[in-house]
Symmetry: C2
Subunit: 313 residues, 2 copies
């Protein structure tokens, strides 16, 4: 039996949020359309932050509405707070992705409140969402940023991650995302922590959000696959990083994650050649950004076959 | 108990062999000296191919002799045939690294003979080496190229790799190196094949030689570590690739491999900061090459500690 791995494209949010020059809305929508056609069935299309904070997301509502019209696509959006949740429900997105940091210092620096306050906010958001009419009721995912380390605090206690995950599950979240926000994770720690959290919040899905900052992104994806993680965030062309940190790298590259999963025998439902073609749209949308990705450079191996098929490329 | 991982620098051979402009001998030696001082205790310093074939290695004998004078360094050299073995024994290098391809087509294209003929050649080389005086008798390692796939044949049968490894062991080799020459390997295949070969040739050391062509280099290192591989080839700055294949990437990056191993709790004996400083020498030696590596860009995580120490960076 071939198992399925679900990949959520986050390049339009995590990738674009660090790029000052807004990508034209039409190109963002082309990106969504083409990637959905290539087989990626969940896309985080935007962040519902105040537009004056991030002009890149001034078109969030317009883009989300347009993306909702695309077939076979789960449209999700990042929300920083209740205001974002209200916008998401009003527009009718399928999933809201809330984020808090496990590291107190990182949470304070990011959203200027304690982790406990962020957790209370999540509970209020889930209560609010439950009041929505069933057909406008989105799923709520909660990301736990800095789960594998923090640039301010350094080491993050895995016990704290497990406790917080349990509280998030008890609050009624539909999905938990462990995020290696700053690329500190390594395979042993990844395996150990995901195994504990999966066991703790069972049967909630636990997704992995990895950055390739120190080159271990795909090694960490492989490690997470080993302990049963089947949901991954990834960014086309590895878009992301931070304009204030020249060395910073974005999320793991969607194309390369798909290749890794298929090579390891997990079916993603994605057509890699079609996915690679979407890079042209990204290149037009953010012409000054480096586009990362090894499969784009090297191509598929001779004799490559997708998981669960006998078809050789 | 912290286990030790041994990393062999191959940038001076596998990295430089695809760079037409010879790196000055003095810089090559500086590279060896600085990397040995940083804690890398084995370096493949050259290839004993005919200089007219690869002018990059015209200084092979001179460099090998100079490297042999460095303290705490195992000096190895690639040999394509008996002629190379003779040069190696004459100079007194510590280890000869012979290579043959598991793929018949790749072996034919590379050295214009069958794999069976290459195996016979290895036997003759081992017999010759055994005749040398004990103090001039090098160890002989045998690399099995294309162990995880071939650009000509596509898939390579793992049973063939295991059979060949057994024959190489029976011939008296001191080490076997499974090489993912073209970057086709993935973690599951890596784990399965290394486990079988390690069991088959026990107690011979089985080393891993990985290329990062499709981004899975470090994921494959992590997978090999899981099944007991403790010897890895790597190239400083990821030097390598092929001038005729723009997408081709070199060996896994030494700095990043060291970081991965130490992060996972394996001691390498390497000082990462000192290792990163060696990049300046490489930059001067091959000024037109892109220097890869994520740790060089992003730096060590805050709170990073080496395996087996309580010292935080």
């Amino acid at each position: 039996m071939v198992e399925t791995v679900h990949i959520r494209e986050v390049g339009l949010r995590d990738g674009l949020q660090n790029i000052a020059q807004p990508m034209p809305t039409e190109l963002k929508l082309d990106w969504c359309r083409a990637e959905a056609a290539a087989g990626i069935h969940e896309i985080e299309v935007c962040s519902f932050v105040p537009p004056k904070l991030l002009p890149q997301f001034a078109d969030a509502a317009e883009l989300a509405r347009a993306a909702l019209a695309l077939p076979d696509l789960t449209v999700s959006a990042l929300i920083p707070n209740m205001k974002g949740a209200e916008r998401g429900v009003e527009i009718g997105v399928h999933q809201l992705n809330y984020v808090m940091s496990v590291s107190e210092s990182h949470n304070q620096s990011n959203v200027r409140r304690s982790t406990a306050d962020s957790l209370e906010d999540l509970k209020r958001i889930i209560d609010f969402v439950r009041e929505a009419e069933p057909e406008r009721r989105p799923r709520v995912a909660c990301g736990l940023a800095t789960s594998f380390g923090c640039t301010i605090e350094g080491t993050v206690d895995p016990n704290r991650v497990v406790r917080l995950a349990a509280e998030v599950a008890a609050a009624g979240a539909d999905e938990i995302v462990l995020a290696d926000t700053v690329g500190y994770g390594e395979p042993n720690g990844i395996r150990a922590l995901f195994a504990r959290v999966i066991e703790t919040v069972h049967p909630l899905p636990v997704a992995a959000h990895f950055h390739d900052t120190r080159g271990l992104g795909l090694a960490n994806v492989a490690a997470a696959l080993e302990v049963g993680v089947r949901h991954f965030d990834a960014s086309l062309c590895g878009l992301g990083g931070c304009p204030y940190a020249p060395g910073a790298t974005g999320n793991v590259v969607t194309e390369d994650v798909v290749f890794l999963c298929e090579s390891m025998g997990f079916s993603t439902g994605v057509d890699i050649e079609a996915l690679l073609a979407v890079r042209d749209i990204v290149a037009r949308g953010v012409p000054h950004e480096p586009l990362l990705g090894q499969i784009a450079k090297a191509g598929l191996p001779k004799g490559f076959s997708y998981a669960g098929t006998a078809t050789a490329a």
